[in-house]
């Protein structure tokens, strides 16, 4: 359980996190989304007591992180920058961390097996691949069997197998009743992993919603329809809340109607359909729409490029 209230962090004039309030509940994976520089990592560092909030406060399992007698048992973290000394073996890294809290050696072996690093546990972390490093970071996070987990972009740079592994791991951890807080840039990834979403842009809260709700809103009425009778269908679909766009020869993008409704209308009127596809892929678009004004670092718009040329 993480509770942030009015969390604010300024670095000089730069406001990295701006009056952020949210709750991360146990038993679910909560996705933390935002474009580059939105303040995700800064928020996570404040939760862990690494950065001091300029104002506001945040508690983990009911207390500020620093007030826990054994923080490793309360919250485990995988930070964006690998928090691992490259000169030490994976085993010794975990052993040193475990020692701070009197966690027995047996648990070190347990988490090594859990993340599948047994074969390389005696090798120095500096030589680890990205995926192995992430696994070691996750092993560190799980060391104290904590009730709350914080992971900053855990799938960054992982291969599909690694991504799948993390996805299932996070779900399992949540199913065990833990609060799991995961940051990402990728809406599509979070749609598969998380149940709840907290979206920020320029340090400010943009959305605090369940994934289902977000997806419904995102894909509401966006359906791609391909038909040899596109023009006829276009007229049939017309209505006050419906917009239809021609996106290619014989292909329409319909918003304001579900695919069920479109299929029914087509069937009733004997219109042949080649394709009827709810636009799930528009998740990223919806995300970008949501965060559009708050994107901080973006490539110059194409049109601007063209007019400059």
């Amino acid at each position: 359980m993480i509770e942030a209230k009015g969390l604010t962090k300024r670095y000089g004039d730069k406001t990295a996190v701006n009056d952020l309030s949210f709750t991360v509940k146990p038993g679910v994976v909560t996705g933390f989304l935002g474009p580059n520089g939105a303040g995700k990592s800064t928020t996570m560092r404040m939760i862990l007591g690494l950065d001091r909030p300029t104002s506001g406060s945040v508690t983990v399992n009911g207390r500020p992180h620093a007030d826990h007698a054994a923080p490793l048992h309360e919250v485990g973290a995988l930070l964006e920058a690998k928090a691992i000394h490259t000169g030490r073996t994976a085993y010794n890294h975990l052993l040193a961390l475990a020692a701070t809290t009197g966690i027995p050696r047996g648990r070190v072996d347990e988490v090594i097996d859990l993340v599948g690093l047994r074969d390389v546990a005696r090798r120095r972390a500096g030589g680890f691949s990205l995926g192995m490093g992430q696994r070691l970071g996750i092993a560190s996070a799980l060391l104290g069997d904590p009730r709350t987990l914080i992971l900053d972009e855990p799938v960054n740079g992982l291969d599909p197998e690694g991504i799948l592994w993390i996805r299932n791991l996070l779900k399992d951890l949540a199913a065990e009743g833990r609060a799991v807080f995961v940051s990402s840039h990728l809406m599509s990834e979070m749609a598969l992993t998380a149940e709840h979403l907290i979206v920020i842009g320029r340090g400010k809260l943009i959305a605090d919603t369940s994934v289902t709700e977000f997806i419904e809103r995102a894909s509401a009425g966006r359906v791609k329809v391909r038909s040899p009778q596109a023009a006829r269908l276009r007229d049939l679909l017309a209505g006050p809340d419906v917009t239809v766009a021609d996106i290619a020869e014989g292909t329409l993008l319909v918003s304001g109607l579900t695919s069920d409704q479109i299929g029914t209308i087509a069937g009733d009127n004997g219109v042949t359909l080649f394709e009827l596809a709810p636009q799930q892929a528009s998740l990223e678009e919806a995300f970008m729409e949501l965060t559009g004004e708050s994107v901080e670092y973006r490539a110059p718009a194409r049109t601007a490029e063209r007019s400059a040329a």
Binding site: H65, A81, H85, R88, G106, D145, L173, E176
Partner: protein, 271 residues
């Protein structure tokens, strides 16, 4: 499946456990081994070389060396000047190694009180360096004197001031290392902290020689850290120097101040 099969929730962070953690960290890095190895080889190897060189000059009867018996006490231990660099670098890296790799964030989120980490690093490092360098110092002294004994000018541990100087090498090197740790915690970059430490140990003494040429500078230069610390290790003090224990006390005081600043900053700053 991810749940621990062994009950874990009994543990809590204590200073003793943090000490154990830092001991594990220190002994599981190769850089620890190599820095200490360098310090030991420099002290023993160069100590023997200096002793051998001094012995051959003693053998030259046309140019007798004045106060040979006094000089003989310190000759084998002179390489402490080199050893202090290796020990100092290790002292720095004990903390900057964590900043450069990001490990510090794992460390400080496990021990959010933060100060126990600094104390533990300082304590573990001190004990290791003190024990090791005391042994090395005594071995070097005795070995060096064995070489000198061929010319019948050797000193013994009961020569005037000899015991203080021999034991002092370990003490001095330990404090140099701690100064490195404090600077490392303040500056947080390996290169920066090493530059600062070497500046204090190597550049300031040169500055001190310049100061000695001025009337007021004479009163300042004995208080420069390396001059004050070095008082412990000489039996031919410069005029106006503070005396062995006072000088060393001043050096310890500087280090304590640096450590206090380090502690304050570690507690205050974002990690």
């Amino acid at each position: 499946m991810t749940t621990a099969t062994t009950p874990l929730r009994t543990g809590r962070v204590t200073q003793l456990r943090v000490l154990n953690s830092e001991w594990i960290k220190l002994r599981t890095l190769r850089s620890t081994f190599w820095s200490l190895f360098a310090a030991i080889v420099a002290t023993v190897g160069l100590g023997m070389l200096f002793s051998w060189g001094f012995a051959s000059r003693l053998g030259d009867h046309r140019h007798p060396i004045e106060h040979a018996a006094t000089i003989a006490v310190t000759v084998p231990l002179r390489p402490y000047v080199i050893a202090q660099l290796a020990v100092g670098v290790l002292g720095v890296m004990v903390i900057t190694g964590e900043y450069s790799t990001g490990m510090i964030r794992a460390t400080l989120s496990a021990v959010p009180g933060r100060l126990p980490v600094l104390w533990a690093k300082a304590a573990v490092f001190s004990v290791v360096v003190l024990v090791l360098m005391e042994i090395v110092s005594f071995v070097t002294f005795l070995g060096g004197q064995a070489i000198l004994s061929t010319h019948h000018v050797q000193a013994t541990l009961s020569s005037p001031q000899a015991l203080r100087i021999v034991a002092g090498v370990g003490l001095y090197l330990t404090v140099v290392g701690l100064l490195g740790t404090a600077l490392g915690a303040i500056i947080r970059s390996t290169a920066g902290a090493i530059a600062a430490l070497f500046g204090i140990l190597l550049v300031l003494p040169v500055l001190g020689e310049v100061l000695n040429l001025t009337s007021w500078g004479k009163h300042v230069s004995p208080y420069l850290p390396s001059n004050a610390g070095g008082d412990l290790l000489t039996n031919t003090p410069d005029p106006g120097s503070l005396g062995p224990w006072t000088g060393f006390g001043v050096f310890v005081l500087y280090t304590a101040i640096a450590m206090a600043v380090a502690a304050y900053l570690l507690k205050r700053r974002d990690a």
